[in-house]
Point group: C2
Chain length 348, copies 2
């Protein structure tokens, strides 16, 4: 007897995926009862529940999420918008978020805007159409960004900004602690006896460079010191800049005994320049980087002491904040800061 539909003939296996009706039929109960048996809601004889559970097992039944979402209005999905590619910075954030969300039954919809406003609107509309439960926005820079906007209905979906905070203080943002990071770096250098510290970092129009520089100088001042060259060296986030800057610093302040660099690339450039000048690291001059970008920090000679921003933790905290906003609707708006971590290697 060939039966292609799941219709009423008892004993005929339902074609395709089993639906709740099939389970109910096999267990000899109604669809509603089967549903209750699965959800745990409603009271029923344990034996009945077990029959349903057995039927589920036998048929390999899995509920259709679209049906559930349609009814409950929840999609168990969050959008993850990366505004600037998926690079070295957003990847750990993204993984941290995915980790925290995936632990529940929430999945992540990936949207990459490539920094394009049109694309952002497109993705945003898409996410709203899919009725996502929330959105995480992450960029690769720590500079604040304007909040999501332009799509009707957005106000009803919680949004958390990770790494790049929203310019609107009423939004929820999770950012790295540049102040603490600078403090860790400076205090580490001071604790190893250095007093003539130079600071070489990226372009001044990057908030990360400005903030770290400001706090580095602040912490030096607090210890009664100042940058060995009397100023901060802004430039690029590159090795080449690190090499050039190292030469410039040593020309200006030959007694410099430590470099605090704005990222690991600069730090690597500095160590290379020092080595080529015959200066030994860390005996003569200590070098500390920032980012703990392993391929840079470990390949450097010697391997770099550096500051780790705990990017995955930022992603995780952002996800947790989002979950709170979704579930309890009592999220704590404002800026949340994730502390950095000092990773000591051989360059200090």
């Amino acid at each position: 007897m060939l039966v292609t539909s799941a219709a009423g003939v008892p004993g005929s296996p339902p074609a395709g995926r089993a639906k709740l009706a099939d389970v109910a039929a096999l267990a000899g109960v109604s669809v509603g009862t089967a549903s209750k048996a699965l959800s745990g809601a409603g009271r029923m004889r344990p034996e009945t529940r077990q029959r349903v559970l057995d039927a589920v097992e036998a048929l390999g039944f899995r509920p259709n999420q679209h049906a559930q979402s349609l009814h409950t209005g929840r999609s168990w999905t969050v959008g993850l918008m990366t505004t600037d590619g998926i690079g070295r910075f957003s990847t750990p954030v993204l993984l941290g978020a995915e980790d925290a969300l995936g632990a529940g039954k929430i999945s992540v919809l990936l949207c990459d805007t490539r920094g394009d406003a049109i694309r952002e609107q497109h993705h945003l509309r898409n996410l709203m159409d899919r009725r996502v439960d929330g959105i995480i926005v992450t960029g690769r820079r720590t500079d604040p960004r304007p909040p999501l906007t332009g799509i009707t209905g957005l106000e009803s979906v919680p949004v958390v900004y990770a790494l790049s905070p929203s310019t609107d203080a009423a939004d929820t943002s999770v950012v790295t602690d540049d102040r603490g990071g600078a403090q860790l770096a400076v205090e580490h250098l001071l604790s190893t006896g250095r007093t003539r510290v130079a600071h070489v970092t990226g372009p001044e129009h990057h908030a990360a460079a400005r903030d770290r520089a400001r706090h580095a100088v602040g912490h030096l001042c607090a210890a009664g010191l100042s940058p060995s060259t009397g100023r901060v060296h802004f430039g690029e986030w590159s090795e080449a800049w690190g090499r050039r800057a190292a030469d410039a610093v040593l020309r200006t302040a030959p007694d410099t005994d430590a470099f605090f660099c704005g990222n690991d690339q600069i730090a690597r450039g500095v160590t290379d320049a020092l080595r080529e000048r015959g200066v030994s690291v860390p005996e003569d001059i200590a070098v500390i980087g920032y980012d703990n970008w392993d391929t840079m920090a470990l390949a450097s000679r010697p391997p770099l002491t550096t500051i780790d921003m705990n990017l995955a933790e930022i992603g995780r905290v952002a996800a947790l904040q989002l979950l709170r906003a979704i579930d309890d609707a009592d999220a704590t708006p404002g800026v949340h800061t994730v502390p950095c971590r000092l990773v000591v290697r051989e360059s200090t």
Copy 2:
């Protein structure tokens, strides 16, 4: 008059998001007609259609995807499983895929297994529950991997393997052309007059290292040559190995005039070692890398000529294959190869 529901009182704005019923009511047609007006199906007076369209506009209506998916069985979603973190290799693949898919109305569900089989099963089940239209699996290595399995119903969902092919030849896989890449590198070196080529690469248990080495040697042979040291130098994918290997090679075969390296890290290590020995690149010895990992290739002194695997293209082709498999069900199983690209910089 307070009305909280969208119920029948004409003139009362529907609460929350507009549904098709609201549109229909505003346009003075039935729900079914409104649906037809939007989908373009069915015949109707242009003026009626326009009334519906106006109502859609006025209400900012957007269809509920869950309802659509429930009915049509399509979720307009594909799963993207990365098996080993989201690293340097899977990221471009992922972006390429997202790009190709997002152009349509398909969104990407991100799943990271961290190389854990349990997690893979978990995500797989999740994707099936969400009734994804297809799955792309990508790893960070080019070694073949076992096909997805273990979840009932999987056979009805098209799967494409990107970067890491499936061990099952009946599956659809999109991989890089290691043979062509090796050929590009060797021919480039030969075309610039080099004849004593050394090959330094990663661990022999990596397919990428083995394949590139085999084909490199093959192409040298085809030109009547052989590796300058008489063998391939397997090691690690690191700069430190590149430096050590460079020394070893020059000790064995001082007349070596070119290095073909298995990746850019090794190539960078080689150039560093050469520079420190006072050997000038490319005048005395040419160096070519592999991967076109910009932070390595560009930071190297001199910047590296290298082979670009066109990873984004691999992702794009995988997505396209998946779309074909989804739509036409006439995908072409087997292994698809994406050609590499020679990027000439100053090290050759």
